[in-house]
Symmetry: C2
Subunit: 292 residues, 2 copies
Amino acid sequence: MILLDGRKTSSDLKLEIAEEVNRMKSSGQNIPHLAAVLVGEDGASLTYVGSKVRSCQQVGFQSTLIHLPDNISEAELLKEVARLNADKDIDGYIVQLPLPKHIDENKILMAIDPLKDVDGFHPSNFGKMALEMDTFIPATPFGILELLERYNVETKGKHVVVVGRSHIVGRPMSILLSRKGNPGNATVTLTHSNTKNLSSLTNQADIIVMALGIPKFLKANMVKEGVVIIDVGITRVPSNESPKGYEIVGDVDFEHVAPKCSYITPVPGGVGPMTIAMLLKNTLLACKRNQN
Amino acid sequence: MILLDGRKTSSDLKLEIAEEVNRMKSSGQNIPHLAAVLVGEDGASLTYVGSKVRSCQQVGFQSTLIHLPDNISEAELLKEVARLNADKDIDGYIVQLPLPKHIDENKILMAIDPLKDVDGFHPSNFGKMALEMDTFIPATPFGILELLERYNVETKGKHVVVVGRSHIVGRPMSILLSRKGNPGNATVTLTHSNTKNLSSLTNQADIIVMALGIPKFLKANMVKEGVVIIDVGITRVPSNESPKGYEIVGDVDFEHVAPKCSYITPVPGGVGPMTIAMLLKNTLLACKRNQN
């Protein structure tokens, strides 16, 4: 069993990006600039955005945090988005979700310039992805592709079962792995809450992508020997053993499932760290596109 | 075994649309106007476009056929597209594919105003479809959903196997049937040329969508009793028995497979007639959106 080490891979990636930024600097090019819009004081969102800004500093990107009050109106937030679209200094930006309930997330999403949408959530970018055109790939799925590629995990002709059909993980993964190219060319089954006999499907799978959000859902009797498992679940479970009072648990009963796997991502330290690295990569791509 | 009769269903639909057009007329509203751009003299394209224009007349739509010479430049065609985007009299339009080789189809596609893209091929509309937002659904998949709905074929929790991953049928079908809603909520496996053990998958399927383009590919031993089959294949096969010198054959070995089915679409007379009806429906939707 080989661990797909997201921590190490994302470090490698960040180093590569930092080198690239140095090259850009020394040849007099603009360096990538990522902006992050954060509305309100949600604890998890503060952590995520803080971590994104720190990662920008690690690789030498410029970054701007735009922290707006919880009670900002939809119209004011749309104005902020329009300002970011027009700002030539900013290569890409993200609007951290979730937004307060009085704001229509889809409306904000649709207002983001697709060329600056480094999260890859704009329908135009999502459609291009599905139609195999060049575009930004959402960071978490992009990170999974990168892990599979760097560990030379073959996907062509393999049967992949994706569990969970969220717009940010399950759906795009099901599309990406069944596209032409590498990683890709897999036979993909997308499963969800209405799926019957899930374990009969996971038992056939060569590769399983868990993106359900139910801790330790996937048990050893649900998978075959030699399976590759990508665990996207990250649930906080109360724990007395951790100084924080909780631990992060994936969708896989790791202790019992891992011995049957050829490859598996740990949680934490698997898919999670890859996500920020790929956001940086998308921002680098946006910046390069803007230089031309 | 029940035939999913596309001819009858599309006639029903056209009658409903014609009634709606009459209501719109008598209440003084604009009636729907579809334009079709045809480049060159490709025989099949001439037939398709001619049939679309005739269908417009049947339901009382206005229609405009823009027939351009084979040697039109990409720039000139883009100008025509810009003109159609700006023309307030036209609710929706299609650019008949394929285009001559010196023209970049993606470039033309991207230039179409998504609000007039009644084919639903623009990445922005395709992305909205995948993200479960309101949009134009491509006509052939939309027609299949309509057939399933009108015949009350349950899809929720069913295992659907889609064979073929084209951008106009296989890919969108795999997305649509796994979305929330009805028809939808199915477990969907998307298969293609790299799939191994295809018949082991089709043998598990409750519903099979064949969109491969290989005549009589699906044999009786590849399906289980009671399966629902949607056959999107339409291949011309030389035939002495037909006065035309050819017959239209689907991807299913109908004679031997049909007796095992609970429902099956015939070819011709199944999915084919639905496609034009749904193009009309999309144009009606575009027109209604423009009245508001």
